[in-house]
């Protein structure tokens, strides 16, 4: 007979880690399954709105979270990705890329990931000039020509970081105007090394072993820009595909009520993967606590 956990938590960002801490303190028998520790919080720059810390960086906060989580003795499966979440009689089955786990309740805290362009060459040239993390890989493009895809805050933030590093920056924006904060727009517009292409979409990523160019369509006219780097900053999508039985909204976020209950009794969801308004580290953490308290209450009614 395979082990049945009280609770499986999927994801270990701010929501999942807080959920795990609360569950451990309730002495629940839990398992955490996660691709990484920290999720998007690892990629945050300066954080000045997490109560108790007037200033901390994302990675530093994640280290604190992780230390807190590892204080308890429960199993954590890292580098493991949930692929399916199946309802059985009285239990749930979580299928991952490495194994199967059974639990009486599940908290989905799988967060969001960078949205992909969905064009030819994108997968092939990932990490070969094409990247989703300007903070990480930006410095490798010193003196090179690069394209930033997107027109919102994260795209403009990437462009501003790259101004100090790259030779020339093309901003490829699908809308007819940039949408990021006015102050950032002013800064990029003031730069000679930035060219902005509005009403433009990426058609293809071109290269041999590394990126050499990007093909774009500007007002129905195709253009090829020679670039060695492409920074994709077109927003985030929820990691909710594996939870195929759960109700989602038009943004593919899992729909939860105030108690973090999904449409399936016994499955709770929390943090950025859900339709909770406002995606913030502190909100995700608080939601994680709520979800586990809900799961705990659900379990006690079942006994």
């Amino acid at each position: 007979m395979k082990k049945i956990y009280d609770l499986v938590i999927i994801g270990a960002g701010p929501a999942g880690i807080t959920a795990a801490v609360y569950a451990a303190r309730k002495k629940m028998d839990i398992l955490v399954i996660t691709k990484d520790i920290g999720g998007q919080a690892s990629l945050s720059g300066d954080i000045q709105n997490y109560t108790g810390y007037q200033f901390i960086t994302g990675p530093e906060l994640v280290i604190k979270f992780e230390e807190h989580m590892r204080k308890f003795n429960f199993e954590i499966k890292e580098n493991e990705e949930a692929k399916e979440l199946i309802s059985k009689q009285n239990t749930f089955l979580v299928k991952t890329d490495k194994g199967n786990y059974q639990a009486k309740t599940v908290v989905v805290a799988s967060g969001k990931r960078s949205r992909e362009l969905g064009v030819t060459g994108e997968r092939e040239f990932r990490n070969k000039g094409l990247t989703y993390c300007a903070t990480c890989d930006g410095p490798l493009f010193s003196g090179k020509d690069v394209a930033v895809i997107g027109g919102g805050n994260s795209a403009l933030d990437a462009a501003l970081q790259l101004i100090k590093i790259a030779n020339h920056i093309y901003i490829i924006n699908i809308a007819d105007n940039l949408t990021g904060d006015g102050i950032m727009q002013e800064k990029v517009r003031a730069e000679n090394k930035v060219s902005i292409f509005n009403n433009s979409r990426v058609k293809e990523v071109l290269g041999d072993s590394f990126v050499q160019a990007v093909k774009i369509e500007e007002d129905k006219e195709e253009k090829i820009l020679d670039v060695q780097g492409i920074f994709v900053e077109i927003g985030l999508i929820p990691n909710s595909e594996f939870a195929s039985n759960l109700e989602k909204n038009e943004r593919k976020e899992i729909v939860v009520n105030q108690r973090n209950e999904t449409n399936v009794p016994g499955i709770f969801a929390t943090g950025d993967v859900t339709n909770v308004p406002e995606k913030q580290i502190i909100i995700a953490a608080g939601e994680g606590a709520k979800a586990v308290l809900g799961a705990f209450r659900y379990l006690s009614t079942k006994k």
């Binding site: 990675p59 280290i63 990247t131 993390c133 903070t135 990480c136 410095p139 490798l140």
Partner: protein, 78 residues
């Protein structure tokens, strides 16, 4: 255990810092190479790993791309 460990990274990259902290916590000595202001080092890293993302970890000539704990532990245990 006397394997030679090199970490290629940049100061702003969270996963580079996590890799460094992880190795430090485990008590492994390593050489950290900041590729952000050194084009030759950056080129060396790209040539060795065949790609352009950080961190790259080199353990006795074996290359690991990204903060891959399992990959690091596997080589260090072998």
């Amino acid at each position: 255990m006397n394997k030679k460990i090199k970490v290629y990274g940049v100061p702003t990259c969270p996963f580079c810092n996590m890799t460094k902290k992880y190795l430090k916590d485990k008590g492994f000595d390593f050489e950290y190479l900041d590729v952000s202001h050194n084009q030759n080092l950056a080129k060396e890293m790209v040539e060795k790993s065949g790609q352009m993302s950080v961190p790259v970890i080199e353990i006795d000539g074996e290359i690991i791309i990204g903060f891959d704990k399992e990959g690091i532990e596997k080589i260090l245990r072998s």
